[in-house]
Amino acid sequence: MTNDFEVEFIEPGERSARFLVRGVSPAVANGIRRAMVADVPTFSIDTVRFVENSSVMFDEMIGLRLGLVPLSTPIGDFEEGDVVTLALDVEGPATAYSGDLESADAMVQPADENIPIIELKDGQHLEFEADAVLDSGKSHAKHQGGVSVGYRHLQRVEVAGDAGEFEEQEPNILRGVIEEAAAEHADADADATDGDLVATDAFDNDLTNRYPGKEVEVHDVPDAFVFHVETDGSFSVEELVLRAAETLGDRAAELESKVAI
C-alpha cells in the first residue's frame, strides 16, 4: 500500500476548519468521517438529581437541555464510562446559563458559558447535581464531538473554450474547493496561479464570475478530499481528527491481534 498523504489546511480554525487530504482512498476518508461523528467520545450530562426545581419546566425537559450542553473533554485523562459531577444552583429572577454549572473536575467544563438552560422568574429556584458520562456518539447524539463533518472531492476547473459570444451566460454554480487549472483566464483574481486552492465562496460559488465568457469543465480530483470539520467545542478540530484516526487504528490493531491467535 502506498501512503503518501498530503494535508493542507484551507481554512484553519479551532472549532471549524477545512483541510485538503491527498492520497486518501474513499474508504479511509469515509472511515475517518464516520469515526469523527460516532466513535470519538465526549462528556455529556446523563443523570440529574434535582434538589429543587420550581421552574416552569419538568425535570425531564431540563435534563434533556443539560445533556445537550457540550463539555470540554481533555485527551487521555479519561476512559469511556468515567463520570464527572456538575452542580448548579440559581435562584430567580435570573436565567440559568451553562456557565453557572460548577464542575467537580476543572478539566471538564461547559465549552460555552452562554447557553441558556432556563429563565427563572421571581421566587423560582433550580438546584441540582448532575453526572456527566464519557460516551461515544454511537450511543447518543449528545455525545457527538463532531457536529458537522463532511467531505467533498477536490475539483479541478479547466477552461475548455469560449462561451457563445452573443449568448446570455447561465450561472454555473459550484460549491467546495477548486484546484486552479486555468489561471490565465481567472479574470477576477490577478495573482492566480495553476494549482491554487480556491474556496468557491471567493467567487460567490459561481464559476462564471471567475472565468467570464469561458466554457469550463469541472472534474473531481481522484483521491483528494476536502474535509469540513466542525466540533461542538468539546475539543479542537485537530484533536477530533487525530482521535478519530486513532480509534480506527486501535480497532485494526485489535483485529490483527485476534486474527493472530
Binding site: 489546511f9 483541510f19 469515526a35 484516526a245 480506527l248 480497532r251 485489535e254
Partner: protein, 95 residues
C-alpha cells in the same frame, strides 16, 4: 470486537465481526482488496430492523497458497500504518 468464524477453508473465510459497523468494516474491506493474494473481499451487514443477522459478516477469498487469515492480519496491519501516516501528515500540516 468479537470474531466468530462461520466457514473456513484453505482459500475462503467467512467470519462474523460482532460489534463493528460500516466505519471499520469498509476500511478493512478496502485494505483487503489492496492486499496481495486476495481475490475477493466483501462484507455484508443488515439493518437492525431486519430481525436476522445484524452483525457484519466479512468474506474473503484468496488465491492458492495464501491463507485468508494471514491476508486479514496483513490488511489490519496496513490499516494501522495508513492511519499512522495520516495522523503524522495531519499533525505536520496543522497550524
Amino acid at each position: 470486537m468479537e470474531l466468530r468464524v462461520i466457514d473456513k477453508t484453505d482459500e475462503e473465510l467467512r467470519m462474523e465481526v460482532a460489534g463493528e459497523d460500516h466505519t471499520f468494516m469498509n476500511v478493512i474491506k478496502g485494505a483487503l482488496l489492496e492486499t496481495d493474494g486476495v481475490a475477493a473481499a466483501t462484507y455484508d451487514m443488515n439493518p437492525e430492523q431486519s430481525g436476522g443477522q445484524t452483525e457484519p459478516i466479512l468474506s474473503i477469498k484468496t488465491e492458492a497458497g495464501v491463507d485468508p487469515l494471514d491476508a486479514l492480519g496483513g490488511a489490519s496491519r496496513d490499516v494501522q500504518t495508513t492511519v499512522e501516516d495520516f495522523s503524522e501528515a495531519f499533525e505536520a500540516a496543522a497550524p
